[in-house]
């Protein structure tokens, strides 16, 4: 073959490979952006949904002083906690047979009107198409949209309550942060201790044995951690602490700490070992002891890598789903102590998305939770990026 032709062929191949890499890069970026767009589009739909279930209305007697009801008030009424009498369509079916309601339920609105007229304290929850029209005694309560404030400031998460679901995201958000915070507080000293031992103190043989073992921990499926937590950790905590219930935030934090450890140790250890040998030797040559070298020289030199390891560990804890779902008890309450059950955002999405009707308010609320989680992890990884970019050497001008 002529050298010219060969060069040409090589060039063609290079161009082709470049195009392929560019294409795969672009496609990946576009797909990720589209997924994020989809997430926010579905989530934003929540604030266009009505507070009362789709296709239904609340009716009261015209003389009733009730003007407007908040979801919390509606829930109280339908839990029989007020003087008002809740009325559902099922109550009508208990009183009348299908025949009495006529073909295609033509007589249903009339009967409903009678019921409302009879009892001025009634609050009826009925499909909008069967609301009795033209009756002077019946008034339909105006529906309002789900508000930002009620979503982000609400303290009750009851997504399947009828007639009006309660979407208060606060207990879930705080639950997630609460569990992750304590997970990282537990993992931090342990992880840093293990890192210092592995990179500075352990012999080569020990290190060769321990490092893969720790990395292996990262490969265990999270559902196995969850099962271990439920069967071993939860009863253990309950017995030793004399707790009424073992599924607590503490159990979740401990499991998450174990799960975050391999990430922290691996990344931090790499950072410490990458400290230039010259630095270490210079320190020792100046007469510093091994310990002084570690905490005066090696540690500051690798502080950005260590911080990145911690932030990555937090990210792992915040997004973890399965293990937390199994051990924290999933009670949507505002976290007040470590020994109470909590519910986290990932666990909520995993547990509820299966049966939430597509396009409904519940479905959109779960997507909104996904958006919140996305923003938290975005914040965390940006922080990791900034921290690891800030190098010790740049600062000291070495």
């Amino acid at each position: 073959m002529k050298p010219d032709l060969l060069r040409c062929k090589r060039k063609g191949f290079r161009l082709f490979a470049e195009a392929l890499f560019t294409l795969s890069g672009t496609v990946t970026t576009v797909v990720i952006l589209l997924i994020i767009l989809f997430l926010f589009k579905e989530g934003a739909g929540l604030f266009r949904s009505n507070e009362v279930e789709k296709g239904y209305s609340l009716c009261v007697h015209a003389s009733s002083p009730v003007e407007r009801l908040s979801p919390a008030q509606i829930k109280q009424i339908f839990d029989y906690e007020t003087e008002w009498i809740p009325f559902r369509l099922e109550d009508l079916f208990d009183r009348y047979s299908e025949e009495e309601l006529g073909k295609d339920y033509a007589l249903l609105p009339g009967k409903l009107g009678e019921e409302i007229t009879k009892e001025p304290k009634l609050v009826a929850f009925v499909p909008t198409q069967y609301v009795p029209t033209g009756l002077p005694t019946v008034r339909v309560l105006p529906g309002s949209r789900i508000g930002w404030l009620r979503f982000f400031g609400g303290k009750e998460w009851m997504p399947t309550a009828t007639p009006a679901p309660l979407f208060g995201v606060l207990p879930l958000l705080l639950g997630t942060l609460w569990v992750s915070l304590f997970a990282i507080l537990i993992a931090l000293p342990l992880g840093l201790g293990a890192t210092v031992y592995l990179s500075e103190l352990a012999g080569e043989k020990m290190r060769r044995l321990l490092k893969p073992a720790i990395e292996l921990l990262a490969g265990i499926p999270s559902v196995v951690y969850g099962f271990f937590g439920l069967v071993v950790l939860v009863p253990f905590l309950q017995r030793t602490g004399g707790l009424p219930v073992g599924e607590t935030a503490l159990a979740g934090s401990l499991i998450l700490a174990i799960m975050a450890l391999p990430t922290i140790i691996t990344v931090a250890e790499d950072a410490m070992r990458n400290t230039p040998k010259a630095l270490r030797e210079a320190s020792l040559a100046l007469g510093a002891t091994r310990w002084q070298t570690i905490y005066r020289v090696v540690f500051p030199a690798s502080v950005s890598g260590i911080s990145a390891a911690i932030v990555l560990g937090i990210g792992r804890a915040v997004g973890e789903t399965m293990a937390v779902l199994m051990v924290t008890g999933n009670a949507a309450v505002m976290p007040s102590s470590l020994l109470e059950p909590v519910r986290t955002i990932p666990a909520t999405i995993a547990a509820e998305l299966g049966e939430a009707p597509a396009g409904g308010a519940h479905y959109q609320a779960l997507f909104m939770l996904g958006c919140i989680l996305f923003l938290i992890t975005l914040l965390i990884s940006t922080a990791a990026e900034i921290i690891s970019g800030k190098s010790f050497y740049n600062k000291k001008g070495i």
Partner: protein
């Protein structure tokens, strides 16, 4: 030769098109209909029945959209779902294929033996918080519920709580197995599970629906003779027009052989 292959292919396609049926819906009913379909296909080699889960609501909406032939459901079809079918000028047929009883379970060392429906309602809505209020020892009550996606959660709310909401922040477990596990290791716990999941690690309570008149223990026999109150039917739904296609399989499920499978999978035969 080519023509022959082509013709047999068309023939095979026609036969499967006639015989293939899709069943979709409730995860509670899933193990039962899977087994039914397996045995049915063994005895009727020309038929294909595909069974998938996803939840009762998913199954019924698939039936409305026409993407499944039979919807399996652990709850009765809702009023607005029926309306949607009616809007498409169709009617839906309902077949009860089996029953499922829910047992209320506590820790084996809990001295309480029986509760009324009203007491259960109080416990799960958060009005009753200590076992001594219902005749037990001085111990906090820890009620365990299922996740909101479960049909069991809905049925318990409807039957026992009379549509009132569960207490705010009730512990909710992702699976029935997790409830058994948690109740067996928590002294003050109470939970509800399908009869098939009942084992020695938890204690089933006797329940009364007449304000304390008679208490009945959950068992297959009591559920069958109607004395145990927390029993729900399991349904198959199909569009009346497709009766001819789906009837052979449903008839098999209702036959003695089919009902034997119901018994084997831990549900209550008709």
């Amino acid at each position: 030769m080519k023509q022959f292959v082509f013709l047999t292919l068309i023939g095979v396609l026609c036969v499967t098109a006639v015989q293939a049926q899709k069943v979709k819906g409730s995860d509670t009913v899933l193990p039962l209909s899977q087994k039914e379909a397996e045995r049915y296909m063994k005895t009727h080699p020309s038929a294909t029945v595909t069974v998938t889960g996803g939840g009762s609501g998913v199954g019924i909406s698939a039936l409305i959209e026409g993407t499944t032939d039979i919807a399996q459901s652990s709850r009765k079809i809702k009023f607005d779902e029926k309306q949607k079918i009616r809007a498409g000028a169709q009617t839906v047929e309902e077949i009860i294929i089996a029953y499922d009883a829910l047992a209320v379970v506590v820790h084996p060392r809990n001295p309480v033996q029986e509760l009324t429906r009203e007491q259960l309602e109080g416990i799960f809505t958060g009005k009753i918080t200590n076992w001594k209020e219902v005749g037990g020892s001085d111990l906090k009550i820890i009620p365990y519920s299922r996740e909101t996606s479960s049909g069991t959660y809905e049925f318990f709310k409807e039957s026992v709580l009379k549509n009132r909401n569960y207490k705010n922040g009730i512990l909710s477990m992702p699976a029935t197995g997790a409830i058994v596990q948690s109740v067996s290791q928590t002294r003050g716990a109470i939970g509800y599970i399908g009869l098939a999941y009942l084992n020695r690690e938890v204690k089933a309570l006797r329940v009364s629906y007449d304000g304390g008149g008679t208490f009945t223990a959950p068992s297959v026999a009591n559920a069958k003779n109607g004395t145990y109150p927390i029993v729900r039917p399991l349904y198959f739904y199909y569009i009346t027009r497709s009766e001819k296609a789906v009837r052979p399989f449903i008839d098999y499920v209702l036959s003695p052989a089919g009902q034997q499978i119901v018994h084997e999978t831990g549900f209550i035969a008709l």
